[in-house]
Symmetry: D2
């Protein structure tokens, strides 16, 4: 019997749909409400036909939310929209897990610089806990506002923090070369996501200017105490789901292939969702699951440490991570309702 009540605000996009996939199967959760302004009144399966016969929840306007008493509310809203909900509802009645970027950056000024938007609820920024359990499990437990990490940052921060925290690498000159499937761009059709233009295609974008760069830097810095500077280059893979991130960094002490591998094994030994692999990982081995597979090695010839990590951007990069945060928040076993085995092949 479900013990906790959840609401989803903004369920017509991909993260909303993935949250539904997870929460509808979660043994301890009942879904109280699911909102959409444009589709209020429709059944969820008319928007997400794959949910036919699985859920007959009706979408309703966010204005109805105050009728309910949820324990947690997920905001699956665009950047710049989530903050309105936080402003209006505050943090007293329920914990908010925000999947947008509105509360991920440490300060209002950084947010406004990178998101090019006024932050209207910056008084809550200090309340926000960055929801990466592998770093902030303890803080998440008592959070009232959880800023669920970006997909790219999740894939980069997990392999880089051990290297930085334990003094393995120089914190400047780090190169992050990421490759993401197209669901990362959202559910809305745009000129840049037209099928024939992306099929069989591949390209880099946002070189040196993507807003996930300051997120990566500020989170690593906040966690490790070391000022960190990364060059982040995202690329668009012609597939639906998945991010693979390759990082390149320079040791600041003597290392070997073995010491690097040992570091990763010891740091992530107890993590349910981080699997340290001994060969470069493949995207499909995490598809549909909440795993982050991580590979780390040292190339002696060029004196570089290389990591390769993979996630499903809609799972560990968004909805799966949000549910993991919720489990921590409610004192549940962290993998509850998240044991989805990767869909391979």
């Amino acid at each position: 019997m479900p013990k906790f009540k959840a609401g989803i605000v903004g369920a017509t996009g991909y993260t909303g749909s993935e949250l539904l996939r997870l929460l509808l199967q979660h043994p301890d959760i009942s879904i109280e409400f699911v909102t959409s302004e444009s589709k209020a009144g429709e059944r969820i399966s008319s928007i997400h036909p794959h949910l036919l016969d699985i859920s007959d929840i009706k979408l309703e306007s966010v204005r109805n939310v105050s009728e309910y008493s949820p324990d947690v509310v997920f905001l699956a809203l665009p950047h710049g929209v989530s903050m309105n909900f936080v402003k209006e509802h505050g943090l007293d009645r329920f914990t908010i897990i925000d999947l947008s970027g509105d509360f991920r950056l440490g300060s209002r000024s950084i947010y406004e610089e990178w998101y090019n938007k006024k932050h209207i609820a910056s008084e809550y920024m200090d309340d926000a806990v960055y929801g990466l359990p592998e770093l902030y499990r303890d803080k998440i437990r008592n959070a009232k506002l959880i800023a669920n990490p970006g997909c790219y940052p999740t894939s980069a921060i997990i392999p880089l923090t051990p290297l930085i925290k334990y003094g393995f690498i120089n914190t400047s000159g780090i190169v992050i070369d990421s490759k993401s499937g197209v669901t990362g761009a959202g559910a809305k059709a745009k000129p840049g996501t037209h099928f024939p233009d992306l099929f069989g295609n591949f390209s880099a974008y946002g070189i040196g200017s993507h807003r996930h760069m300051p997120e990566i830097e500020s989170v690593i810095q906040g966690y490790t105490g070391f000022t960190t500077e990364v060059l982040f280059t995202p690329h668009l893979l012609p597939i639906d789901r998945g991010i693979l991130t390759t990082t390149y960094s320079t040791p600041k002490k003597e290392v070997s292939k073995e010491t690097v591998e040992e570091l990763f094994h010891s740091v992530f030994e107890k993590e349910h969702f981080v699997r340290v692999v001994d060969k470069p990982p493949m995207l499909k081995h995490v598809r549909g699951s909440n795993y982050c597979d991580v590979y780390a090695t040292y190339d002696e010839r060029t004196n570089k440490i290389i990591t390769v990590s993979t996630i499903d951007n809609l799972m560990k990069g968004a909805a799966g991570q949000a549910v993991q945060n919720m489990n921590i928040l409610f004192g549940l076993i962290e993998s509850t309702g998240l044991k989805h085995i990767p869909l391979n092949p």
Copy 2:
């Protein structure tokens, strides 16, 4: 606590891997053994890396099987190999669910004609129940040998049987135009499944000569009592999973769009895994799930009934159906361990 014990014979292929995905999560099943002759002694995750940290079962030789007392054994073996296991072990100790084609056809002579191979265990053919629950739920309940249906036949028999059983269509001249993802061709690399040759490509094959044609005909005939003749044309889709089947038939009585729709709704109303949809279905709306989505309509202008159905060929077309059969066999709720929500997008 698991109540039933299962074994998997032949676990290095795609159906074996998909069975593992399902059974490892099934609440009432413990996996007793998993066999492979070529990989005996290795951990399952060295063959299927996506199962790392999920299962550390060791593969063993089928020769060890007699040490165990399973309640059910799944044969995820190639055509022509399953029958050896049946011959050797008989049907007294455990029920066998055979995912190959060895026991799907009604007679030894038809088998030998279409599979071009001597059948060495034809004495068990009469014991075999065709494992399509939507047709043979009652027989499956007491079966000792279940012939799990082929992927194409599953997608064609589900929409065609209501039309034939209730006298809606002529049983000759039925056209079945099917399109399948490449996992249907198995896990072994072959010239015909080389990535660059299939990417962005599409073609028909086996026109009028595919061995799933006699399977479709004999099953429909056995179930409805009407001699049925179909022309079956498979095509190869450049994707991993999924079958979409379009059928064309001619009414033999007066019908309308409405009467056809009503027929499907009434026949499948209580079926957990058949969803009657009101628009042509999409493959990804069943990906990773055990659903068969079915659409049926009537075109007055040309006087044809058209159906479109979709399945995930590794699920409702193979492993999912096998687990559904097992649930029936054990008296479990039919959807136990099979509630995977489709992975969309």
Copy 3:
């Protein structure tokens, strides 16, 4: 030295871009003008970056067209827009090759029924020659207005006309099951063509209601004299280019595999762009080329004639066919500038 002058009206879409690819390489053609209303003033390579360093033509408004004296004008415009150009410019100054559907259907009433739009230039309908060279080469030679065929119709009419013209099949009950790449839906991003929703997906659409159905029927009827009725079901393939069409029909006289094959070989023997193949053809074997590969066979068991044909929808299904028509019009060798070898793999 180029002998003929061409203009392209509407060059920002896929057919416009493909026309440019062909005409820029054509030995006997100079491009006089290329128009776009929304992008007038920009260089063609800013719209089609793959043409960088290949062409520095500037787009201009269609209002400037009267300054030029082209021999032929290609209309690469949406349905319903081409007719405005024809109305305004008439057919006296140059021949028009219209790649839209505006002049493909025989009568104003049929057009208005299927395109759901008033036809404002129906007085020119009788002047229009249906630009399928394999049927109407002689009329194309002297045409003032050429209605370039639709992509689906091209792939269906080529295999069906011999069967009907020579009395091989019944002209009712013909089933056409077509599968098209997504470029057929045009260059504009739409909800239905969003990459993540189509990737790995497949579906049928427009069953019994696609406007290419009356085109197929009226063209076959006009050419063979037999009233013809087809059931046409298009499907959307998750690839960029290519159409594969499978047809099913019933013989009306005694036939054999051999007589069917002979028919196709004799009918298409002299055709440069129709290749009769002895195995079901593959899409990639025509990619980027103007070929239509055709396979025909007879299934004795079910007494059906089956054909499978493939084209590149942007070439033989649009721009390539338009250039083939232009070559005929100008008395050039039909394959001039069209000898592109298929891009395989």
Copy 4:
């Protein structure tokens, strides 16, 4: 009328097939012979069905080659096989353009280390000219043996040489992150190239150990005089054709975005096949063509120079480059027979 005679040794693979596509359309070349040991006696279209009606050349054994007097022979053979041909035929009768890796590395010992194979024709190594026209046009003109560059090296050397030659960057610590389509792995079906395993997948491989790494380093060093050390990480893209390479390096003098861009524009201004683009390039904008699109920028914040380059691996990365070399050799205009406009979309 063709002026030069060419032979192709080993035409059943992808580079052989692509050479045929180019040479069959080349205005100045006649193809004298095409060899295959396994398929000798068969028509080329039975191996490459897309060439049906285009060429009816018969494959013959390489033993027949001495009957002909070609001007140039292309070796489209696997690594380790080409050297046998060179050993047997020497360099007196015709120029050899070898598309394998056998003569790309400067010394026998380096070859044997990286290719793990004895070099049996190392006496010809000094005769070999590295066939990258943008570097060695003058030497190619008089070469008797041309070592056609690897696909990855082509994509990396073109953007890196200007930066190194003109002293813009440190020659150690260079990171090359490459992503290639699957045709780069050859035409033979292998476990690693099975369609369902690669579809929707992505991974890195050969980190720090790929044999194209020493090729890149030795060529840059030979050309610029600077000892160069690169870390090269290849990744496998789930598409058929194309390589995109992203490089990261550190300036060794003061630079700006503008000075970097100017460098590239001035170096490549006269190159027919290198297009300097002002936005990160897309793979499909070079598909089927001989172009290398190059983008270069400077990120002030992290003080890194980033380049992104794209090629079609079968064209500029193999067959197209080989024909470009042949054109130079014969004194033809370099783009003769190579004006294929990219097939986009």
